[in-house]
């Protein structure tokens, strides 16, 4: 290997553009966000930086006393706590079905189930808004035909978040399905052969072979999905604008409004950092639990 100065210079020329972009337009802003969250940067500071004041942890303490922040955090937690298990359960079922030796036309089914993943979130959110319309929506019409009274899906504070969960599951279950499917295909077939010889039922095979073998894959899928679901934003932005009764205001939606509607950039940065810490904490707990069960 040649490692003269010319070769080293060449190497740096190759990585420099990428490191410059990531450094200036990602790393620098992340550090700046931390500093910004310690100031009272607002509309006045935006006009004239001389108005900027250092407030230490003021924004964070302030947020912890703001009911709307807790509401947003509660809504987001609700979305994650119900949405993630639901989403992974659907992905797992779909992957098991696709992996069944009895399944026909697998490639076609896989494509169909995966299609929602590649669609544009904003566009399909608009579709769902009409499908779940109280009077003209197909969903209420279908429910009506089996005698269920119309539900005000996106206008009732009890139903708005569950509707968004359903939407999110529909939109992204195909993603995890593909990963789980690859995991299923990697399970050695002789494990099942042995279990069959022992007379183990399908259900017992699933519990004692499939699930444990899928452990690491499910853990990975869980981490990806949890951090993705905590970043809920476009769905409430398009479908409900945070309403009804702020039941669909998510943490990021709150950050967006604080930052780009009211220009409280200091406060909004504190929101972003708190969300980051929460995601980090939850995924670290999950990974630690996985490590304890020797999944990673």
């Amino acid at each position: 290997m040649r490692t003269g100065p010319a070769a080293r210079l060449a190497a740096w020329t190759f990585v420099a553009p990428a490191l410059a972009v990531l450094g200036i337009f990602f790393a620098l802003p992340v550090v700046a966000a931390l500093l910004l969250s310690l100031t009272d940067f607002d509309l006045y500071a935006l006009a004239d930086p001389a108005h900027l004041r250092f407030v230490a942890l003021g924004n964070y303490l302030d947020l912890l006393r703001t009911p709307m922040f807790w509401k947003a955090l509660g809504n987001t937690t609700y979305f994650v706590a119900v949405g993630v298990p639901l989403s992974i359960a659907v992905s797992l079922c779909a992957a098991l079905l696709l992996n069944s030796p009895l399944a026909r036309m697998r490639a076609l089914f896989r494509t169909a189930l995966f299609a929602p993943v590649v669609t544009t979130l904003v566009a399909v959110a608009v579709i769902w808004r009409y499908l779940f319309h109280t009077s003209y929506g197909l969903v209420n019409w279908a429910l009506g035909s089996v005698g269920i009274a119309p539900i005000d899906w996106l206008g009732d504070p009890r139903w708005a978040m569950p509707t968004i969960m359903l939407f999110a599951v529909w939109k992204n279950f195909g993603y995890n399905m593909v990963i789980i499917l690859a995991g299923l295909q990697a399970i050695p077939q002789d494990l099942y052969e042995a279990a069959r010889l022992d007379g183990a039922s399908r259900w017992r095979q699933f519990l004692h072979i499939t699930l444990p073998q899928l452990g690491p894959v499910l853990l990975l899928v869980g981490v990806i999905t949890i951090s993705g679901y905590f970043q809920l934003f476009a769905e409430p932005y398009v479908m409900t604008r945070g309403d009804p009764l702020q039941s669909t205001v998510s943490v990021l939606y709150y950050m967006f409004e604080e930052g780009f509607k009211w220009w409280n950039l200091g406060r909004a940065s504190a929101v972003a950092f708190l969300l980051f810490l929460i995601i980090l904490g939850v995924t670290a707990l999950l990974l630690r639990a996985g490590r304890r069960r020797e999944l990673v």
């Binding site: 060449a10 802003p29 700046a32 069944s100 544009t120 009077s135 950092f273």
Partner: protein, 277 residues
């Protein structure tokens, strides 16, 4: 005998369940397509019609004539193509260097990049907006393109793939007196073709569907990309179902077709990317 009957019932259950899941997955998209061809006001009836009484392109005509969505379509195409082309070049060069070239701190820098994956992009967005404002790039295409020009995911993907290139091949070219750039473009790049295809599809679709950052950095209708334009349209034309569905078709169809054509590459990228953990 009973075994055959059993497996036939099983096959019916498995395929029936798959059929239901596929129907649920596709129904909203098919409904969107159907409504976009309905005459104006055709969808807002009870019971809601599944198919247009008479197929018409009225909504598409109205959409392109009154909302300026043609411009937004061109914006999306331009921004997504630019991000794809530029990031492909930047990520490939970096990924190759991390895999095959020696320089001080290589492993440490790469570890740092991987660690950066845990930081949600939104954390950077507020200061990034201020930075763009300083640079005069708010409400410009560059404001969307530049932050997308390099991604850790892309660098990682290329690095994994480039590691399989034999060192002897690169060394032989060096001995023949080829410069590093020539080695990269004439020897390495052709060998990276499969991973470049995967990365290109992934990047283009990601850029096309991206919403939050374009929403923040683009401030007028003329510069909006399709998702941002559609979100703002849906606020003005909430009652106009057919028009909105035509807009949704225009937004979704390009990526959906791209996926159908190149899904092999897309799924590959998804699987490779998910083992980054």
């Amino acid at each position: 005998m009973s075994g055959i009957g059993h497996s036939r019932r099983g096959a019916l259950q498995v395929n029936g369940a798959l059929l239901v899941l596929a129907a649920l997955s596709l129904a909203p998209l098919l409904w969107m397509l159907s409504v976009s061809f309905m005459p104006r006001g055709g969808a807002s009836q009870f019971p809601p019609p599944l198919l247009p009484s008479a197929a018409t392109l009225d909504s598409y005509r109205a959409l392109f004539a009154t909302t300026g969505i043609g411009r937004n379509f061109a914006n999306s195409l331009l921004v997504s193509a630019a991000i794809t082309a530029l990031s492909l070049l930047v990520n490939t060069m970096a990924g190759y260097a991390f895999a095959k070239l020696r320089f001080a701190g290589r492993e440490r820098i790469f570890q740092l990049l991987l660690a950066a994956l845990v930081v949600p992009a939104q954390v950077a967005m507020l200061p990034l907006f201020l930075l763009m404002k300083q640079l005069g790039l708010v409400n410009s295409y560059w404001g969307v393109i530049i932050p997308g020009m390099a991604t850790v995911f892309g660098i990682f993907l290329v690095r994994q793939y480039a590691r399989s290139i034999p060192d002897a091949l690169i060394e032989a070219a060096r001995i023949d007196g080829a410069g590093e750039l020539r080695i990269f473009f004439q020897i390495v790049l052709p060998m990276l073709k499969p991973v470049l295809a995967t990365l290109a599809v992934f990047t283009f679709m990601g850029a096309w569907n991206d919403f939050m950052w374009p929403l923040i950095v683009l401030t007028d209708q003329q510069h909006y990309t399709l998702p941002v334009a559609l979100a703002s349209l849906s606020r003005e034309h909430i009652m106009d179902v057919e028009l909105m569905m035509a807009g949704a078709v225009v937004t979704v169809l390009p990526v959906l077709l791209l996926f159908l054509l190149l899904q092999r590459y897309y799924v590959q990228g998804l699987l490779l990317g998910s083992v980054k953990g």
